[in-house]
């Protein structure tokens, strides 16, 4: 009986693929395709205009996503990859698996965007989130000198974790090891991913957690809870810009272009703020949802170019490991 049911489950999953319409397969990270992410709405919106079927395939996170593409190589099933960030762009380009495809739009990013292969679809500032009634330190040095407890993610297994590594490196350069050494006694623990860290913070294990300036928007909009705030640091907050690109080996190049152009239109962009909890790359005509205006906006933003990020990554990781393993 159970075999039948499992078989039925597999068949019903495959029958969807058997339709006549052209298929566009987009690989993305798992939280994008989950029922609380942008996936279901994006699928509906794109299918309404494309006369095609959009298959979203979720792979853990951005780094795992790139590994999957490299694993599948030239005959990947994916036509488009959505969900890498600037830290991964250089490695992604080096594989030669991605095809140039300039998409022009009025990007609302705090930085200039010019890349002929990767198109941004959302962005956010990394920031330490804390309870609104607590005073947050103004920068890393103040944090290191305080006894504020923080939880961060491991850069080897988590995108925000890697973002923090880049943040400290971008703000302090050669002084980064010193900053990490100062932070060592503030760090309660380092977690595998964002969920563990955020969950522990909500349980009260730390005063602050590494997340995004947009995190308080979730609590405010979805839970009507204004008790969380994000700290702007005066050395600047590091940016995360999430991007998508077409694969060179796609058998649906036209459809892939269509999707990437659709991605920067209002139909896609207005889904992002309250599902992915990030800023849309192109501000929709209706503006940002209510509640986003209350968010902390850092005075200064930091971001390495993809090539710089790739060049400093390994050294920054070694410094981090050294400082925190003492």
């Amino acid at each position: 009986m159970k075999h039948l049911l499992i078989a039925a489950g597999i068949l019903s999953a495959t029958s969807a693929i058997a339709a006549d319409k052209p298929q566009l397969t987009v690989y993305t990270y798992d939280s994008f395709v989950s029922d609380w992410g942008p996936g279901p709405q994006v699928k509906e919106a794109f299918e309404a205009v494309c006369e095609c079927e959009l298959n979203l395939v979720g792979v853990e996170d951005g780094a795992a996503l790139l590994s999957r593409i490299r694993l599948e190589g030239e005959n990947s099933d994916a036509d488009v990859v959505l969900g890498l960030d600037t830290n991964l762009i250089t490695a992604a380009k080096e594989t030669g698996l991605f095809a140039p495809n300039p998409v022009s739009a009025e990007f609302a990013l705090p930085i200039e965007w010019s890349d002929d292969t990767f198109t941004p679809y959302d962005w956010g500032y990394f920031a330490f989130v804390h309870n609104a009634d607590a005073t947050a330190p103004a920068n890393f040095r103040e944090l290191a000198d305080s006894d504020t407890k923080i939880i961060i993610q491991d850069p080897r297994s988590s995108t925000p974790g890697l973002g923090l590594l880049m943040w400290v490196k971008a703000a302090y350069g050669d002084e980064a090891p010193e900053i990490w050494a100062g932070l060592a006694d503030n760090i309660v623990t380092v977690t595998k991913g964002w969920s563990e860290a955020y969950g522990l913070f909500l349980e009260g294990e730390s005063d602050m957690v590494l997340s995004y300036t947009t995190s308080p928007a979730y609590h405010l909009i979805a839970e009507e809870d204004a008790s969380k705030a994000a700290a702007a640091f005066d050395e600047g907050n590091y940016l995360q810009v999430e991007v998508a690109a077409k694969l060179a080996g796609t058998d649906q190049p036209e459809l892939a272009n269509k999707f990437l152009n659709f991605m920067v239109t209002d139909a896609f962009q207005q889904i992002i703020p309250t599902t992915n909890w990030m800023y849309p790359a192109v501000t929709p005509a209706d503006g940002l949802p209510e509640g986003f205006d209350t968010l902390t906006v850092p005075a200064k933003s930091l971001l390495f170019s993809p090539d710089e990020a790739a060049a400093v990554r390994d050294q920054a990781l070694a410094e981090w490991q050294n400082a925190l393993s003492q």
């Binding site: 499992i6 489950g9 989950s34 979720g58 969950g199 009260g204 490991q321």
Partner: protein, 515 residues
């Protein structure tokens, strides 16, 4: 080993063992062959190896050292609710890692219950993060398993031994030295090896409780090699190292646990006459129950708050998980029973070794290897559920064997010669003698397998399809979408399902009073 006539053929078991070995080594080979660069070990990898070994050895020793008095107390005492307690104690083992970490820290964390109580007396919160935290978490996960395995060995001592010892006027100490100590000597090495192997592949628990990159394990280095560096060669090398360490531990355990059993008994219900020190036994049982049940209570409490936040999808995922667990349990038994029989008929070595490898195999390597192997043939996402069930079965196999093998050995020793002299057919022997006598162990193994499969995130994340999700995956997704309350509700549901499956199967296997 001299070939002796056996009532049952070892070949199906050897076949099953070969299949398991092929799955584990084949996927490893697939990853190694796909590698573009052949990376060596970095100094950081050696540091990871040292930390991994330290924490795994300490965790195994502490788990077993604490399990012995708890199991002894449970073996000697009968009290109302004893069976429910034994079943409940198994729960930490089957929780998804992320849920267990949150539950554990709700009790032992900086703002946990114990720190709150300390705060009332003006004391600072406990410092849980560090090597001691890693060991504490691993003892939390593995003490129940160790207790069950040791308790089972206790129950398998023929009742006649205790009867005779009581008649000869042995006191508690003498009974321990004459009967229980030899049993422990045979049992403990295997239990230590199993827990050592489980802790060897720890990743998220070790990192979170360890408090930082000092607590880097080999499994984290494998993950890093896969996703951060995309160095498949190094991933395969590290995984091979894990397998080699586990194999070494397993071989050592097999060597130390040789020795004769207690021989035949009359299958009587056990009765004990050494009733000394009830207070001490009560202390051990109460301490173990508090240590294991408090974090569970916190999972239940936060879960109750989230029960009404759970979207319908969670229930669909729960249904999927139940089917995966059922399929996985079936596969587990089809593999484990013949393997246990083969070991019992003297063919142990390689069969037992391949049985324990499932523990040491990195889920990431098995998953990726299967992905590489399956992909040229069929879209891997279509096989997400069958593959998950298969891998879960391979991972539960070492536990199932630890449970089944001692019983299969004893039964072969007790009834094998009679069966041979009766010229009983091999199938008849299996069906009429072996399986009915092993019902409690089969029930326990099946229950454990089902519960483990239910709670395991496993390889489904690698093959994920937005349409099909198991309950653990859905819990992770909820957490990833800020929905911690709903996730806590899902965790409670998972806990209930796992415990329910375990209780049902474990209970189904027992037809007389002893648990």
């Amino acid at each position: 080993m001299a070939e002796r006539a056996q009532p049952i053929s070892a070949w199906p078991g050897i076949g099953a063992a070969a299949l398991v070995a092929a799955l584990i080594l084949g996927t490893l080979a697939a990853v190694a062959l796909r590698a573009e660069t052949s990376g060596g070990f970095s100094p950081a990898d050696w540091a990871a190896l040292r930390f991994t070994l330290t924490q795994a050895i300490l965790s195994a020793l502490f788990s077993v050292a604490l399990a012995v008095p708890v199991a002894r107390a449970l073996a000697r005492r009968r009290f109302p609710g004893r069976r429910a307690l034994i079943a409940l104690l198994g729960a930490p083992f089957i929780l998804p890692v992320i849920v267990a970490i949150l539950g554990l820290l709700q009790v032992f964390g900086r703002s946990g219950w114990i720190s709150d109580v300390l705060g009332v007396f003006g004391l600072p919160p406990i410092r849980i993060y560090g090597l001691h935290g890693v060991v504490l978490a691993h003892v939390f996960f593995n003490l129940p398993l160790a207790t069950r395995l040791v308790l089972q060995a206790w129950q398998e001592i023929p009742a006649e031994r205790f009867r005779l010892a009581a008649q000869l006027g042995c006191n508690g100490m003498a009974m321990f030295r004459l009967i229980e100590l030899p049993m422990l000597k045979r049992t403990l090495p295997g239990v230590i090896a199993v827990i050592f192997a489980i802790c060897l592949t720890s990743f998220a628990v070790a990192l979170t409780l360890g408090g930082g990159p000092r607590a880097t394990t080999i499994e984290l280095a494998i993950y890093q090699a896969f996703t951060y560096d995309f160095d498949l060669g190094r991933a395969a090398l590290l995984s091979a190292l894990q397998l080699a360490l586990t194999a070494a531990a397993a071989l050592a355990a097999l060597r130390f646990s040789r020795g004769d059993g207690f021989g035949t008994g009359l299958d009587r219900a056990l009765q004990r006459w050494d009733g000394g020190a009830p207070a001490l036994d009560a202390f051990w049982i109460a301490a173990a129950a508090a240590f294991l049940l408090l974090p569970l209570a916190s999972v239940v409490i936060s879960g109750l708050a989230g029960v009404f936040d759970m979207p319908a999808l969670v229930f669909r995922a729960a249904l999927t998980s139940v089917f995966v667990a059922a399929a996985s349990t079936l596969i587990l038994l089809v593999l484990a029973l013949p393997m246990a029989t083969a070991v019992a008929s003297g063919r142990h070595g390689l069969v037992e070794l391949s049985g324990i490898l499932g523990l040491a195999a990195s889920p990431l390597v098995i998953g990726t290897g299967l992905f590489i192997l399956i992909r040229p043939v069929v879209n891997p996402t279509m096989l997400a559920l069958p593959v998950t069930a298969l891998v879960n079965a391979a991972m539960a196999l070492p536990f199932a064997l630890r449970i089944l093998v001692p019983a299969a050995k004893d039964i072969t020793a007790r009834h094998g010669r009679l069966a041979l002299s009766l010229n009983m057919g091999k199938w008849t022997y299996f069906r009429r003698v072996l399986v009915p006598r092993m019902r409690p162990q089969i029930g326990f193994a099946a229950g454990l397998g089902a519960a483990l499969s239910m709670g395991d995130l496993g390889v489904i994340a690698l093959f994920a399809d937005p349409q099909i999700a198991t309950l653990p995956l859905q819990i992770y997704r909820l957490m990833g979408a800020y929905q911690m309350q709903a996730a806590a509700g899902g965790a409670l549901l998972l806990l209930l399902l796992s415990m329910g499956a375990f209780w049902l199967l474990d209970r189904g296997g027992r037809w007389h009073a002893e648990a």
